[in-house]
Amino acid sequence: GQQVMQIPQYQHVQEGEDFTTYCNSSTTLSNIQWYKQRPGGHPVFLIQLVKSGEVKKQKRLTFQFGEAKKNSSLHITATQTTDVGTYFCAGHEGNAGNMLTFGGGTRLMVKP
């Protein structure tokens, strides 16, 4: 079955440093979604990427979908303490009725 891997599992950064998390799927995806879970909270949708090579930005966050549609990345520029949380990617293979498969998440910790 489909597997979605994320690296790193954990990342400590100093406030102001950049951060990147990578997501890799064992199969070609039709689209990929990213979620953020704050400590003690539940996952909240951030964005969806659909097109090969697509790049989307949300303020300091940049999301990329690989050309082969098997990998994705989330890059945060100049991290802030409000960025703390776990970032999950979730891939969809595209067949009707198929579920999303979540990666294991990257836990970001930011030192002020």
């Binding site: 039709s30 689209n31 979604q33 979620y35 539940h42 996952p43 909240v44 949708f45 969806q48 999950f88 979730a90 969809h92 293979e93 595209g94 009707a96 009725g97 198929n98 579920m99 999303l100 498969t101 979540f102 990666g103 294991g104 998440g105 836990r107």
Partner: protein, 115 residues
Amino acid sequence: GAGVSQSPSNKVTEKGKDVELRCDPISGHTALYWYRQSLGQGLEFLIYFQGNSAPDKSGLPSDRFSAERTGGSVSTLTIQRTQQEDSAVYLCASSYRDPGSYEQYFGPGTRLTVT
């Protein structure tokens, strides 16, 4: 509008007892998921309902776990003869139609503690 709601928010039970966890999805959302999340871990898929189709139960860890979705809306996750390893946060999510194309809205979760 109202988001996904789950009840109870916290449940402490003794080993061997049965528990029922409830999820009220967003009105109009045909897809509903249950996940389990242990402390500091990722999301473990349990079961998926899509409209009137047979549910995808491939993530249920044992036959002690079951789930129903009545009338295409409210869902109940039942754990029989609870074990300590069942302790986790159980998250429900719903999405509009095909979950791969639409974002999932998560509920606040039920924290289950088995003593």
